[in-house]
């Protein structure tokens, strides 16, 4: 288990099944935010959930349905063209204020998953701090889901502030852990839509602490994690979410905003993943680097994929190599030290790369907050 392909409005089941066949992905996720519930018979529109799952399953792809209720608490959401088709609410959409409404929402989410014949993955609320009225509601949702199905996967979704909330985060996670579900899906949600994602060392530390604790109790998937999830993998996560669009590689408010002037989700896949940088650069930057220093470019594991499909495959291969390099190490301290070394090397490589021109991102973006958070985690563990 290394990667799951997250959902995107772009319908590319062939890419997913090829990734699974190649051993580069273990599963895929569909959500009500990117896949229709009803058949539309509109040319070019993505098939509805049941049909899509049928196609994927026929190709041997394990599928999860993530209700992503936590999107509803993001500021500025507007792209709910598919979401409103789903029968996920007994009362008003997003109303989790009473126990009865929470129970109803949990039941309806599980019913949709039963109808789609996929594993149960509970809904949750977006959290901004570890302990609040919202965290109590999130715990209540989790309790109800675990009562309905003890093997349910429980989600934890929060902003960087939530993940940085120290002992309050630990306490909330402790309460969730006491439910002892079948596994975990954790998400760091970003207010800004950037790549690499904007985060803090404290948030990465919180993510690592949490994953380290939960991984002892069940498998942990880092939803929409991509490269940013590597510290969590070092802490014990077994898989990370990724894809060909930016909205599959990170979870940010802007990904769910109203669409302006078409889809607007196709630009990210042109960036080229570079293993030695633990990050990506633009195609122009890749071309310049390959021309000026082909030896360095090759040593960093660079490539110049000619089209979106090969760009995605290259990205996935790089991510799987990085994740696999950590997950093959059973000892948590070994995993931690391997990623520390990887980040140290990548920081030096960004310096080398910077000598060949001005790049749009740097080690300060791709490495520093993650390496700093990882160091805090290591210190907590006494390493």
């Amino acid at each position: 288990m290394t990667t799951w392909i997250e959902d995107s409005p772009r319908n590319l089941p062939q890419w997913i099944s090829e990734s699974v066949d190649a051993g580069l992905a273990a599963a895929t996720v569909i959500t009500p935010w990117a896949t229709p519930w009803r058949p539309h018979n509109v040319r070019g529109l993505k098939p509805h959930a049941a049909r899509r799952i049928g196609t994927l399953r026929a190709a041997g792809v394990p599928v999860f349905f993530d209700p992503m209720t936590h999107v509803l608490q993001m500021a500025g959401i507007g792209d709910d063209r598919f979401y409103n088709e789903y029968p996920l609410w007994g009362g008003n959409r997003g109303d989790l204020t009473s126990p009865a409404l929470r129970e109803q929402h949990v039941i309806q989410v599980l019913r949709v998953q039963d109808a789609l014949d996929v594993p149960h993955l509970a809904p949750t609320e977006l959290l901004h701090t570890g302990l609040s009225q919202a965290s109590s509601r999130a715990l209540d949702l989790a309790r109800r889901a675990a009562a309905a199905d003890p093997s349910v996967l429980l989600p934890v979704a929060g902003t960087t502030e939530f993940w940085a909330s120290g002992s309050a985060l630990d306490a909330h996670v402790g309460s969730l852990a006491s439910l002892q579900p079948g596994g975990w899906v954790v998400t760091m949600v970003h207010a800004d839509r950037t790549m690499p994602t904007t985060t803090t060392a404290e948030a990465i530390h919180g993510l690592c602490r949490t994953v380290r604790a939960l991984a002892d109790l069940g498998p942990v998937h880092v939803s929409h994690g991509d490269f940013a999830a590597l510290p969590a993998v070092a802490a014990g996560a077994s898989s990370v979410g990724t894809g060909w669009d930016q909205r599959q590689r990170s979870c940010s408010y802007g990904d769910y905003g109203a669409r302006v002037g078409g889809s607007g989700f196709g630009s990210w896949n042109q960036r080229v993943a570079i293993r030695g940088l633990v990050g990506s650069i633009t195609q122009n930057e890749a071309t310049v680097l390959q021309t000026r220093d082909p030896a360095l470019f090759a040593a960093l594991g660079g490539g110049c994929p000619p089209d979106p499909r090969s760009t995605f495959n290259h990205h996935l291969r790089v991510l799987v190599q990085l994740v696999g390099g950590l997950t093959r190490l059973p000892d948590p301290q070994d995993r931690y030290e391997a990623l520390v070394d990887l980040y140290r090397l990548a920081t030096a490589n960004w310096t080398l790369v910077g000598r060949h021109g001005r790049f749009t991102s740097s080690a300060a973006d791709w490495i520093r907050p993650f390496a700093d958070g990882l160091a805090l985690y290591g210190a907590t563990e006494g390493w």
Binding site: Q133, G174, S175
Partner: protein, 302 residues
């Protein structure tokens, strides 16, 4: 739940800032004994707090009657208390004190409540702490208390106030948990002074300081049992209360253990050190997540 008419006269302790704390005085004790159909023989232990502990005579022999004065109980908390009393009454776990009556709620609105428990021999754990225990005896303490807690945790019940005065050392050499958390729902919150949740100074988990989704959970009971085990092994609680509430809360929140068990008891094995450290881990999810898991961890140890 049995009820009688409201008792109009009961005593108060005057707390700081003019707050009043109800005392389980003679009127309430008398009413509780009447409701429960027992004869009061006299006090067991200290007299004058919010809870009275009395030796009583029943048709089946001597028992313990506990009476608490209530000033802030809500109907929801009374329902919860009643449910937990029912749960304890239906159990015969050798490591949990047996409740032998219904919960008797005094007054409407409630001004007190009482119930009967089996009379235990032996002494409270608190009287035995001080000298350093051998691992074998500490292991028995962990084993017995965890066995009692495990059944509660499986039923969704958290003790919330495991302290030396709530564990009994029986003449047989075994241990029994007393005073499950049900009574704490009804106690005046300000009595604790340490935060949102009831508990005993020197024996709080970090979760005792929390509200919302972070309140005491099964792993908090594991932490508190870790405190007792640490104190049995070293003679001192790991996060002692030194008289300053704010300073103490700071150390509890950051789980500032005064001396690592490895340094305090270098004669123990690495495995034994690891067990105690894990019980006292700052992250609840990194501890044994409940007493059942603790028993699993203990099973493979000498």
């Amino acid at each position: 739940m049995a009820k009688i008419k409201e008792v109009r006269t009961f005593r108060y302790l005057v707390l700081g800032r003019g707050r009043l704390l109800a005392v389980a005085g003679s009127e309430l004790i008398e009413r509780a004994a009447e409701l429960l159909g027992v004869t009061d023989v006299g006090p067991i232990g200290a007299v004058g707090g919010q809870k009275a502990v009395r030796r009583v005579r029943t048709d089946a022999g001597d028992a313990v009657m506990k009476v608490i004065a209530v000033t802030s109980a809500t109907s929801a908390s009374l329902v919860r208390v009643g449910r937990e009393v029912e749960w304890l009454k239906s159990r015969s776990n050798p490591h949990v004190v047996r409740v032998i009556s219904e919960l008797a709620v005094i007054g409407d609105p409630a001004v007190g409540a009482g119930w009967l428990e089996e009379l235990l021999d032996g002494v409270d754990l608190g009287t035995r702490l001080g000298p350093r225990w051998a691992w074998s005896e500490t292991r028995a303490l962990i084993q017995d208390v965890a066995s009692g807690l495990a059944e509660a945790h499986r039923s969704g019940i958290v003790h919330r106030d495991l302290s030396p005065n709530n564990v009994r050392c029986l003449l047989s050499g075994r241990f029994k948990i007393m005073d499950f958390g049900f009574a704490r729902y009804m106690l005046e919150p300000g009595v604790t002074a340490f935060g949102q949740q009831p508990g005993t100074a020197g024996y709080l988990s970090p979760e005792h300081l929390n509200a919302f989704s972070g309140v005491p959970m099964p792993a908090s009971d594991v932490f508190c049992l870790g405190i007792l085990a640490y104190q049995a092994l070293t003679g001192e609680p790991p996060i002692p209360f030194l008289g300053d509430v704010d300073e103490y809360i700071g150390r509890v929140r950051s789980v500032e253990v005064s001396q690592d068990i490895g340094n305090a008891r270098p004669d123990l094995t690495r495995e034994q050190h690891t067990l105690i450290r894990r019980m006292l881990h700052p992250q609840p999810a990194r501890r044994f997540i409940d007493a059942g898991r603790l028993l699993d961890g203990l099973a493979g140890m000498a």
